[in-house]
């Protein structure tokens, strides 16, 4: 009984969440509905989180359970091993923080009856995906997760953009599930062994395994946001209410990563050497494209959504490296790359949720998502500004926060690539490393823009001027995440050691234990090669920062002075003279965007005599949409238009169709030998 306790706790949690979803349908109009639903979600998530953490830290053996649900001859299989436990922890942590945030944020919800029933169901769907141990349960939970999140995306369905986002999301989600369905079909083989246990016991042939890997990359990649399958993500994630955006960006994409890892690292047999090339090439492109897209945005939530694409690229770089090392029989290097990927999964879920919460708090306070309408919020929302800054520093991979730790580990894995025997990888991996470095720099630029334009300077609109600090629940959730970001940044060794059982299960090796090393530093390979000590960096930053502040105040002036911001020497009363998000991104837009986005700037000059202001118009094209998705959509609608005629045949023609089909089938039967 005690052996399957964590699994039972998680499953009971999912069941309670589903019951809660049903309850929310009837409750939705009650005044306290939001508090009841989110409060219950907090309790369930917290209990499940503690159980998952205990399981992972205690390196408990895998637990299985079969319930008589679903397909009669198969049942619903559930299993909790180290990998599931880790992702369950990510899901529950995200769910806990989002529910706490929603206690405050949900009060402002205009249509609670469209959000409250789907929110717990969405959480339950994500939990069930990571626990599933057969293909039917996995796909059902996966589709349930997609549909409930779709319902949350279109919860504000009067906004035309949201409807389009929901439509694109629905199509891409079904496409991804189709790819996963085919992958599981290949893995199950002709005997139809749909349990993961059977797939593990009988790994597929090399060709089938490779096909399953490609299909998993397409299926899980479309959910995670791999370029070019990312198109739905920046539309759908911002459309949902902010706590749901945080869950979709921070947690649901990680569930997709889980699906990829489960299929490719465990069920598809031993990797061939070229798998990693596919994964690494796509991941490198994803990383840079994601951050470049983000730089072009001035909608705060959409910018964050594009950054998810970038971070998914970083995670997949780690996974691709792990595949490369695993295929070449270098388990310790593979364990390093795999740990880096999983650690970044955890870190990204923390700071992406934090940043979306911040965007949500700003949205509540001002009603604005467009950065061009914000500004100066640091004076009006100082606490939000502080935690948002922590999130920005973390996502920009600056020490001592957690984003740096995991990206540093990824770089350590990249630096091991010269030991790889194959020349293709020897050349490709450093190129990917260069892309990763470029994206890290661009991400920092992007968050300087996001933070500077949103929080610094002067307010650009009256709405930004009237902003007030957000409520204490939202602040609590953000501070919890900011604290965890700092903790994971200064004590990465703790998290790396906790990931050891996952590595042992998936790779067959683990990184050296980190907790015993001096000064809590991390040493991925050997002390002579490289080491990083987050705590020392933190202490140094704190000390030098305080010393500098003290020196300035002592030597200059103790008084706080206020002066006009960004006036370039010419104080102008209009806030429109400040840097805007567009103008900040202009240099990068000119360097990269002219080819990648076909960016064109035109000056819209009024005719003589007209008193309106001249405008600089920037024209951006999403080439991936223009060259891949638009022709595809046009082709499908052309075919559908042709087939439409079939609906308007005469009765005799319909009969002839049936007759013709019968005769053709009989002919096939006659000719078939």
């Amino acid at each position: 009984m005690t052996l399957t306790m964590t699994l039972m706790v998680a499953l009971c949690g999912a069941a309670i969440l589903l019951a809660l979803a049903a309850l929310a349908v009837t409750l939705a109009h009650a005044a306290a509905a939001s508090r009841i639903v989110y409060g219950a979600c907090i309790i369930v998530a917290a209990v499940s989180l503690v159980a998952a953490a205990a399981d992972l830290l205690g390196a408990a053996p895998p637990q299985t359970l079969t319930l008589p649900l679903g397909v009669p001859w198969l049942g619903a299989h559930f299993r909790l091993d180290a990998l599931s436990a880790f992702f369950l922890l990510v899901v529950d942590l995200g769910a806990l923080a989002a529910s706490v945030f929603a206690l405050g944020y949900g009060e402002h919800e205009t249509a609670p009856q469209r959000v409250l029933p789907f929110y717990p169901a969405f959480l339950a769907g994500m939990t069930l995906v990571v626990l599933a141990d057969d293909a039917f349960t996995f796909l059902t939970s996966w589709e349930f997760m997609s549909l409930t999140s779709w319902a949350l995306v279109v919860s504000h369905h009067r906004v035309p953009d949201n409807v389009r986002a929901g439509y694109v999301y629905l199509i891409m989600a079904s496409f991804g599930t189709l790819a996963l369905l085919l992958a599981f079909g290949l893995l199950a083989g002709p005997a139809g062994l749909y349990t993961f246990a059977a797939m593990r016991a009988a790994p597929p042939t090399t060709t089938l395994g490779a096909l399953a890997m490609i299909l998993a990359l397409i299926g899980a990649g479309s959910k995670a946001g791999i370029v070019p399958l990312h198109v739905w993500l920046p539309l759908a994630h911002p459309a949902a209410p902010s706590h749901v955006s945080a869950l979709m960006s921070g947690v649901m994409t990680k569930v997709a990563v889980y699906g990829f890892v489960r299929i490719v690292f465990e069920l598809s047999g031993d990797p061939a050497w070229w798998w990693s090339i596919v994964v690494l090439a796509l991941a490198g492109v994803t990383t840079v494209m994601g951050v470049l897209y983000a730089l072009m945005q001035h909608d705060l939530k959409r910018l964050l959504a594009y950054h998810t694409v970038e971070n998914i690229g970083i995670i997949f770089i780690g996974l691709g490296l792990a595949l490369a090392f695993k295929a070449h029989g270098m388990p310790f290097a593979a364990a390093l790359a795999f740990t880096a990927a999983l650690f970044h999964v955890f870190n990204h879920s923390l700071f992406k949720s934090l940043l979306f919460f911040g965007a949500g708090a700003i949205l509540t306070a001002t009603g604005e998502r467009d950065m061009e309408h914000l500004g100066g919020l640091i004076h009006r929302m100082p606490q939000t500004a502080f935690v948002f800054l922590v999130g920005c520093v973390a996502i920009s991979a600056l020490p001592p926060l957690n984003g740096f730790a995991s990206e540093w580990l990824t770089f350590q894995a990249i630096l091991l690539s010269p030991q790889l025997p194959s020349w293709g990888l020897k050349i490709l991996v450093p190129a990917v490393g260069a892309l990763l470095a470029l994206s890290a720099a661009l991400a920092a630029a992007c968050f300087v823009k996001a933070y500077g334009v949103t929080f610094l300077g002067r307010p650009r609109t009256p709405a930004a001027e009237r902003a007030r600090e957000t409520d204490r629940y939202s602040l609590g959730a953000m501070m919890l995440l900011a604290g965890l970001c700092l903790l994971a940044g200064i004590l990465p060794g703790l998290f790396i050691d906790a990931l050891a059982p996952v590595n042992l299960a998936m790779i067959g090796a683990r990184m050296p234990a980190q907790l015993g090393t001096q000064w809590l530093s991390i040493v991925p390979i050997a002390a002579s090669r490289s080491s990083y000590d987050g705590l020392l960096v933190f202490v140094f930053i704190i000390m030098s920062g305080s010393l500098a502040a003290m020196a300035i105040h002592r030597l200059a002036s103790a008084r706080l002075r206020r002066a006009p911001a960004w006036d370039c020497g010419y104080p102008d009363p209009s806030p429109a003279t400040q840097y805007t998000a567009m103008s900040f991104a202009q240099p990068i837009r000119r360097v990269f965007g002219t080819t990648l986005f076909r960016a064109r700037e035109t000056v819209d000059m009024p005719p003589p005599g007209d008193t309106r202001a001249a405008r600089l118009v920037v024209d951006l094209h999403d080439l991936i949409w223009d060259y891949i998705y638009a022709p595809l959509a046009a082709g499908i609608s052309a075919i559908a238009e042709r087939l439409n005629r079939l609906q308007f045949l005469t009765i005799r023609q319909f009969l002839s169709l049936v007759f013709g089909a019968l005769v053709i089938l009989l002919l096939v039967l006659a000719i078939w030998s």
């Binding site: 009765i651 005799r652 007759f659 019968l662 009989l666 039967l669 006659a670």
Partner: protein, 220 residues
């Protein structure tokens, strides 16, 4: 099974196919009905012979049902419908007789090839019976496809169903329940179609189903 049993069963099933060809050739409604009656009579004889050969008394009931409903009730009712509608002078053909007959021959050849190949282990009587039955079914479908008039389409449907009964009785051990339910479903289909014929006629002044397409009010 003695040789004479086999030969008679073969003869009856073969004549059923031949009569299907006769049906295809008829372009006047009265003569079509007459041939259909012959079709149903032959079916009844075939079923009765099967009952005798297989020593299965319940098949006699099937034969009686076939005789009463298919050879008497339905032709008489259709006859009255034709009189009532006053369409006995109409000629009904979409495709010429020659090409229809050729297509029919192709279908019979196809069903022979398919059946003889698929049922190699089966009892030879059942095997040939099934081949003939499939031919009758396909010819009935062909008739439905090549006719405009709703009455001829009904006849095509009925002879298709005759093929089904032939197949069912050829196989040993088929329970009576199945046959009775088939017979009743055909009767109900017949009643429904009959009512529809009158409704169509009331609305559109014709039983030519092409008129329906014009009146659907949809884009073609």
């Amino acid at each position: 099974m003695s040789k004479i049993d086999f030969d008679v069963a073969h003869l009856l099933a073969g004549s059923l196919v031949l009569i299907s060809f006769l049906e295809l050739y008829q372009d006047r409604l009265y003569s079509l009905l007459n041939v259909y009656t012959l079709h149903a009579l032959t079916l009844a004889a075939s079923v009765a012979w099967q009952a005798f050969v297989q020593d299965a008394p319940h098949l006699y009931i099937t034969a009686v049902i076939a005789l009463t409903f298919k050879a008497i009730v339905i032709p008489v009712a259709l006859h009255r419908i034709i009189v009532k509608l006053g369409i006995h002078r109409q000629i009904d053909k979409v495709v010429g007789s020659g090409s229809t007959m050729l297509a029919g021959m192709g279908l019979v050849a196809l069903s022979m090839v398919v059946m003889l190949r698929v049922t190699q282990e089966a009892d030879p009587l059942a095997r040939e019976d099934l081949a003939f039955a499939l031919s009758v079914i396909l010819l009935g479908l062909l008739m439905m496809v090549t006719r405009h008039n709703a009455v001829s389409q009904v006849v095509g449907f009925m002879s298709l169903e005759n093929g089904l009964v032939l197949a069912a009785t050829g196989a040993k051990g088929m329970p009576l329940v199945v046959e009775i339910s088939i017979a009743f479903s055909v009767l109900i289909a017949f009643i429904v179609i009959g009512i529809f014929l009158f409704r169509i006629r009331e609305r559109f002044d014709t039983v030519d189903v092409q008129a329906l397409d014009r009146f659907r009010g949809e884009r073609r």
